[in-house]
Symmetry: C2
Subunit: 231 residues, 2 copies
DNA sequence: TAGATTGTTAATCGATTAACAATC
DNA sequence: TAGATTGTTAATCGATTAACAATC
């Protein structure tokens, strides 16, 4: 317990650095400074240096970071130096799209299988992956030592699905179902709720100033109301 | 400028409260306490009370919150009391899935149109929505006064797409493309990068303790190395 | 009145930014 | 050496939690 764990906010930024470095390497950039990484990522240069410093000293003072070296270090840090085997639960529109998306755009992961309960979709192919009946999930998790799962099922079945896959060894879950999942200590859940993202965005689409001034007026009113009551 | 704007972290939680209240109302719950909302959401009761307090006093001391009343207040606060018109740019797998997903699961938004550049997908139907050529985007934005857009195009075309739609009046963007978008002051971008979410999750799938102890050992080594050098 | 729960202020915690010595 | 940029410590800022008076 000597050094505290790396915070989630830091871990969330590491793949952004990785993506930027991958792009720079494609463009044959050899050396990159924290300032340049800042411009590409939108995070401050100080923050980037500090984030990297949690894991070691990867740069050269006066010069910057070697792009390939830093990329490789990041792969190692995140755990992407070997391909990660992932399963997808739920072969609806979202599950299918997530499967295809990751097969095409995420070279660091291997989608091993997709599972569903619905007879209508079982046996269908997504890319080269055949949708399997959910009953087979435990066998696949155990045989392939799967640690990571994407959940793209309905809110009502998500908890049951999670109980089952966690029981067989899954420790990291990317959850697209709109529910809070209960998991034992040591299992990590990351929520990705598209509906919530969109709704919180809508907050900003309606003139914030207008809404806020409306609300300020109201609280001002209730405040003077209270004043009067106190007098 | 008297009272500061509501922070993003708060705004991000509001739709969660909304979803929980919607569910409670379906189950005919009339009164709910911050403690119960805490159990359903995973956020602390104090935090929930504080979040709501930014916008007014909606509860009754000693009793709790009226579910319907609070739900309606939240709809008003977020800006969902009227249906929001949204467009989707990009009719690939992800764009299609996002469109269907929101049509089915998000009663507070209206997907007005989906746009793409690719002749192969133009004219296709997603649910009841026909994919339109991207050239028509400016006309639709102006005619329907669209403020909110989902971007599900490639990294390389995202910036161009955003420049165009912002020019015609879009002020809030949910961006699924893996790039940092440049937008003028007043335009709000929310990034949702599935690849990054999955990669940061993978960090937690490989025994964090192991990785951290490995790194600690290393930094300890380099520290004692430095010590030696200093002696 | 007693018990419960809100709304709000104060205390704590954690994350970001500023600053700068180290060093290429 | 002069200029640049890292790695790291200190200062600031913001968000969460604790505490409690207000009040149903």
């Amino acid at each position: 317990m000597s050094s505290r764990a790396i915070s989630k906010t830091v871990v969330k930024r590491l793949p952004v650095y990785l993506r930027i470095l991958d792009n720079l390497i494609l463009r044959d950039v050899e050396i990159v400074s924290s300032r340049e990484l800042s411009l590409e990522s939108g995070f401050s240069a100080e923050q980037i240096r500090k984030d990297l410093a949690y894991f070691g000293a990867f740069g050269t003072r006066g010069t910057g970071y070697n792009a390939v070296f830093l990329r490789d270090k990041l792969l190692e840090i995140i755990g992407l130096d070997k391909k990660t085997r992932v399963i997808v639960i739920g072969a609806g529109h979202l599950g299918k799209a997530l499967t295809r998306h990751n097969m095409q755009k995420n070279p660091y992961v291997d989608i091993i299988a997709v599972f569903d309960r619905d007879r209508a979709v079982i046996g269908q192919e997504i890319g080269k992956i055949r949708v399997l009946p959910f009953e087979q999930v435990s066998a696949v998790i155990r045989e392939q030592k799967i640690k990571v799962a994407l959940i793209a099922v309905t809110a009502s079945s998500a908890q049951m699905v999670v109980d089952e896959i966690v029981r067989h060894g899954v420790t990291a879950i990317l959850n697209f179902a709109p529910v809070k999942l209960d998991v034992p200590e040591g299992v990590h859940v990351q929520d990705s709720d598209l509906t919530i993202d969109l709704q919180s965005l809508i907050y900003y689409s309606t003139a914030e100033e207008e809404r806020l001034s409306r609300l300020q007026k109201r609280s001002a009113e209730s405040r003077s109301q209270k004043m009067l009551e106190l007098e």
